[in-house]
């Protein structure tokens, strides 16, 4: 039996491709849906490029030169780098620390592990930012009022502070809260799958838990940390809601807000410069992702595999309680505390630098849900878009994912690349592209639900596609083949075997899409209008022109809807896990 050992390994069959066969009906539908998506994306991006050329009067570099020589551009870059850089580093330290505490020590808190990644879904950042303004504004912040009362008892009197959300530290604080979940997710997943015997070996050979963490654990999951950092920088650069709410007050200009201002304030909109600034945004993401690939390619990290369960937890002693308190505080600061701020202002009816529970009422909710046409219409439109747009995006993504997995060839390669492509672009860039492509002739969508629908299809295709692909990848190929062998055709196989088995993953995907579309701000700010309001657009509008109690109430309603649907996600996830 020695000869066999030198034989080449069985070649990985190039998917279950049955190239001899004609397209089935399902596959034809897939190609049509995929085509609509691909055409929208490509047409929008091409229009954007054409726009840049046209704007530069023949010289594609002119908008770049204009953008760079605009007053304040230097400060925009400096502020952006400072805010995003510091926040991402802070967030990485917190996220890696929390992931380690939850996966490897006896400070682990089951609900934190489950809850942390969900915070951006539960409390949309626009709502939590406004909540923090109510709490920690320099003069009128409710927390500041409380703290000043307490400090004056100690003999320290002041009219302002001590907290000030309208500042660089305030900005970094909010950005950090926002970025942590995005780094925590890949890092904790990698730690959960990392063979614990690597750590145990280090302990056996004489290193303490902390040195083991830095010498073995962290180096082993370097690719996940690098991926998390990239994601963090990407999220930070694209974050628009924090800057638009507190940037002006803090005199900090971030890139995302500057681009938005160029497009919406003043006439005509300065699209060329805005797009030029977007290009810098893209370039940064590109450079960072190249660096990340380098780190991953080095190969000096452990391959993740084996069973992650049964790892002996590091005993932190009394430190366990400190660690737990810090984690609970973090979760409170990023969700419960700002939500309380919103609830207080919404019930109080107005925002004043006092804390009083007298005369609380639900008037602002009546306004939001019934009286104010804009807010009630926005809620209706957002829910409609989230349900219909989310479902259609998911259906298209599912069909494309199955098609790509089953068939090789050029069409699949293109669909795969295109479906993932929008993930690398910020919503701002995509929204501008869709605006230039579809608002004018020949489509004249203007600001309408139609253009928002197309935008959300493009924005969330990567999420939906990745969810659907991984749901499909978890189904062993043999299950589908067994159905074919049993005499069932491709359609029956899809309906009876493939889709039912993908369902738990798809339901999770549908809920995530619902929540993301519900709380979308960036695209909505550019693409919605007064006649077709959506929640993100209306909240920004109210921030400039409205009453605070209405915003607060709308924020609470939006958070409640998101949280309810996200809880459904958790429940569905747990239920389908127990079925297996």
């Amino acid at each position: 039996m020695t000869i066999g050992l030198d034989a080449p390994p069985e070649p990985a069959p190039v998917t279950g491709r049955r190239s001899g066969r004609r397209l089935t009906v399902v596959e034809a539908v897939t190609i049509v849906l995929g085509g609509i998506f691909a055409l929208t994306l490509v047409y929008a991006l091409v229009s954007l490029l054409v726009e840049i050329f046209a704007d530069g009067a023949g010289s594609p570099l002119k908008p770049f030169a204009d953008a760079l020589t605009m007053t304040g551009t230097g400060k925009v870059f400096a502020d952006t780098v400072l805010v995003v850089g510091i926040s991402t580093i802070c967030a990485a330290v917190i996220a890696v620390g929390f992931a380690w505490l939850n996966e490897r020590t006896n400070a682990r808190l089951g609900f934190i592990a489950a809850f942390l990644p969900l915070i951006p879904l539960l409390v949309p950042s626009l709502a939590s930012t406004i909540g923090w303004v109510f709490l920690a504004a320099d003069r009128a912040g409710v927390l500041n009022v409380l703290l000043r009362d307490w400090l004056s008892g100690l003999g320290l009197d002041a009219d302002t502070g001590p907290l000030n959300v309208y500042s660089m530290p305030g900005m970094v604080f909010l950005y950090t809260l926002n970025i942590v979940p995005f780094i925590y997710l890949p890092v904790s997943a990698a730690l959960a799958r990392l063979d614990p015997s690597l750590d145990e070996a280090s302990r056996v050979f004489g290193f303490g838990p902390v040195r083991t963490l830095f010498k073995v654990t962290i180096p082993s999951i370097r690719p996940a940390i690098a991926g998390g950092l990239l994601l963090g920088i990407g999220v930070g650069l694209a974050t628009f809601s924090i800057g638009v709410i507190i940037g002006a007050g803090a005199r900090i200009d971030v890139l995302a807000v500057r681009i938005y201002t160029l497009l919406t304030h003043g006439f005509p909109p300065r699209t060329g410069e805005a797009v030029a600034l977007c290009t810098f945004l893209l370039l940064t993401v590109l450079i960072v992702s190249t660096v990340q690939r380098r780190v991953t390619a080095k190969g000096a990290h452990a391959t993740i595999g084996g069973k992650g369960t049964g790892a002996a937890a590091v005993d932190l002693g009394w430190g366990k309680w400190v660690a737990r308190a810090i984690m609970i505080l973090f979760v409170a600061l990023s969700s419960v505390v700002p939500l309380l701020g919103l609830i207080y202002i919404s019930l109080r009816g107005y925002w004043q630098p006092t804390l009083s529970f007298a005369g609380l009422n639900l008037d602002s909710y009546v306004t939001v849900l019934v009286e104010n046409r804009m807010t009630s219409g926005a809620l209706r439109n957002s829910i409609l878009l989230a349900v219909v747009g989310g479902l259609l995006t998911l259906v298209a993504a599912t069909l494309i994912a199955i098609f790509v997995a089953q068939r090789g060839g050029r069409v699949s390669k293109w669909l795969d690349g295109l479906a993932k492509a929008p993930g690398g672009l910020s919503h701002l860039v995509l929204a501008i592209a869709i605006l230039t492509a579809f608002s004018g002739p020949p489509f004249r969508f203007g600001t309408s639900l139609g253009i928002l629908f197309l935008a959300f299809l493009v924005f969330y295709m990567p999420q939906a596609y990745v969810t659907a692909s991984s749901a499909y990848a978890q189904i062993s190929k043999e299950l589908g083949e067994a159905s074919l062998i049993s005499g069932a055709g491709p359609f029956r196989t899809l309906a009876r075997i493939t889709l039912p088995l993908m369902l738990p993953g798809l339901v999770g995907g549908a809920i995530i899409l619902f929540v993301l579309i519900m709380s979308e701000v960036t695209g909505s700010a550019l693409l919605a209008g007064p006649r077709t309001p959506v929640v993100g657009f209306v909240m920004l509008d109210l921030w400039v022109n409205g009453t605070f109690s209405t915003i607060a109430a709308l924020g609470v309603v939006m958070t409640l809807v998101s949280a309810a649907v996200a809880m459904l996600l958790l429940w569905v996830g747990r239920r389908s896990a127990s079925l297996r």
Binding site: M1, T2, I3, G4, L5, A7, P8, P9, E10, P11, A12, P13, V14, G16, R17, R18, S19, G20, R21, S476, E478, L479, E481, A482, S483, L484, I485, S486, G487, A488, G489, P490, R492, T493, R496, I497, P500, L501, L579, R580
Partner: protein
């Protein structure tokens, strides 16, 4: 068996082959650009009711060949007929590729591929459902199939709750419920432990004899192949190295590859001094001095000056008395160690050039390490093969 198969069977001659593959070729392109040829010109005919085992090391193409018969892979060239019905053809102008769901087969997958969201009964009913068998009949046939494989009691359960052996039986029930004339097995026993494997193998053989389906069975386990097969096809990098009954493959291998893959083989490599019709005279300094051996009966004939492999089975090695000789091979060796294995004993000895050979004897030899031994092999038990030119 579907109706159109039945009519075709009636029309065709009675001894039509269950599977007939001709000139199959399949190449894959790997991600790094190199091409692999898992099936390299395979022609094969399997009789009705036969149990054929495709045997070979991993990477020899046995699973790909099975999947081509199933219709799950598309060969680049060649044709496949099932019971005289052409299901695949890439030879001429008229291209045929019947999809797997219309080939009327049963198959057992390596992972069993039981659908986790359907109960055992619904898993087994699935092929009947696809064939639009009426509900009442479906229920009855499912019950009968589960009864037959001995897992009737788990009909209402989900497959995830079953043991490996039970899952295997359910997979078998699903494969036989539609009464296909051909069932394909893709290493179905590689995921269960040794004891259950033994039991399932017997069960499977009994089932096949009782129902009479044709079986094509892929495995890399030669013991399994020997036990199950009417005929074994030994595969070597995409080609059939030998296709014969188990005993013929063991006793009369047609190549060094087959001889060494099946069972244990002793081997001496010597140089041809002279060739004369049915014999070759070989010599190996210190070990063999101009010994006349039967010429190769298979493969290429060696010329003088070339090296040949002389192969024989350990149990055909005799311990000879000093001075005794025969028509075959006589080797002077040194005793290394002996192993007592109950029913028989094994002796490992070393030739003068360091080659180790094994001899199986009924009773243990009690020698000192280093003691001289004379080994003899009858000419009829020797197989001589020319060096394979491909290396």
């Amino acid at each position: 068996m579907t109706i159109d198969q039945e009519t075709q069977v009636a029309a065709a001659a009675r001894d039509v082959a269950a599977v007939r593959a001709e000139g199959l070729l399949k190449t894959f392109r790997r991600a790094n650009g190199t091409t692999v040829t898992p099936i390299d010109g395979v022609t094969l005919s399997i009789d009705k009711g036969e149990f054929l085992v495709l045997l070979g090391p991993s990477g020899c193409g046995k699973t790909t060949l099975l999947r081509c018969i199933a219709g799950l892979e598309t060969p680049d060239r060649g044709s496949i007929d099932l019971l005289g019905r052409r299901v695949f053809d890439r030879t001429g102008a008229r291209r045929v590729a019947v999809p797997p769901e219309r080939r009327g087969l049963g198959m057992i997958f390596q992972s069993y591929a039981l659908w986790p969201h359907l109960t055992v009964a619904r898993n087994v009913a699935y092929p009947l459902e696809a064939a639009q068998v009426p509900k009442a009949e479906r229920r009855e046939r499912v019950a009968r199939a589960l009864e037959l494989v001995g897992v009737a009691e788990v009909a209402g359960q989900l497959p995830g709750r079953l043991s490996g052996g039970q899952q295997q039986r359910v997979a078998l029930a699903r494969a036989i419920v539609g009464e296909p004339s051909l069932i394909l097995f893709d290493e179905p026993l590689s995921n269960v432990d040794a004891k259950v494997r033994e039991e399932l193998r017997l069960h499977l053989l009994e089932m096949q004899r009782r129902i009479g389906f044709t079986a094509v069975y892929v495995t890399h386990d030669q013991v399994e192949a020997m036990e199950l097969a009417d005929r074994i096809a030994v595969l070597q990098s995409g080609k059939i190295a030998q296709l014969d009954t188990p005993d013929a493959i063991y006793d009369r291998p047609v190549s060094r590859y087959v001889a060494k893959f099946i069972g244990t083989a002793n081997e001496v490599t010597a140089e041809v001094v002279e060739r004369d019709g049915a014999t070759v005279t070989v010599s190996l300094p210190g070990v063999l001095d101009r010994v006349r051996l039967p010429a190769p009966v298979a493969g290429r004939q060696p010329v003088a000056g070339e090296r040949v492999h002389v192969i024989w089975r350990p149990e055909r090695t005799m311990i000879a008395d000093p001075g005794q000789g025969g028509d075959g091979l006589v080797l002077e060796a040194e005793y290394l160690l002996g192993r007592y294995l109950g029913a028989f004993s094994e002796t490992i000895a070393s030739l003068r050039d360091g080659t180790e050979v094994r001899a199986v004897t009924a009773k243990p030899l009690h020698h000192q390490r280093g003691a001289g031994l004379r080994l003899a092999v009858a000419a009829a038990d020797l197989r001589v093969f020319a060096e394979e030119s491909a290396g």
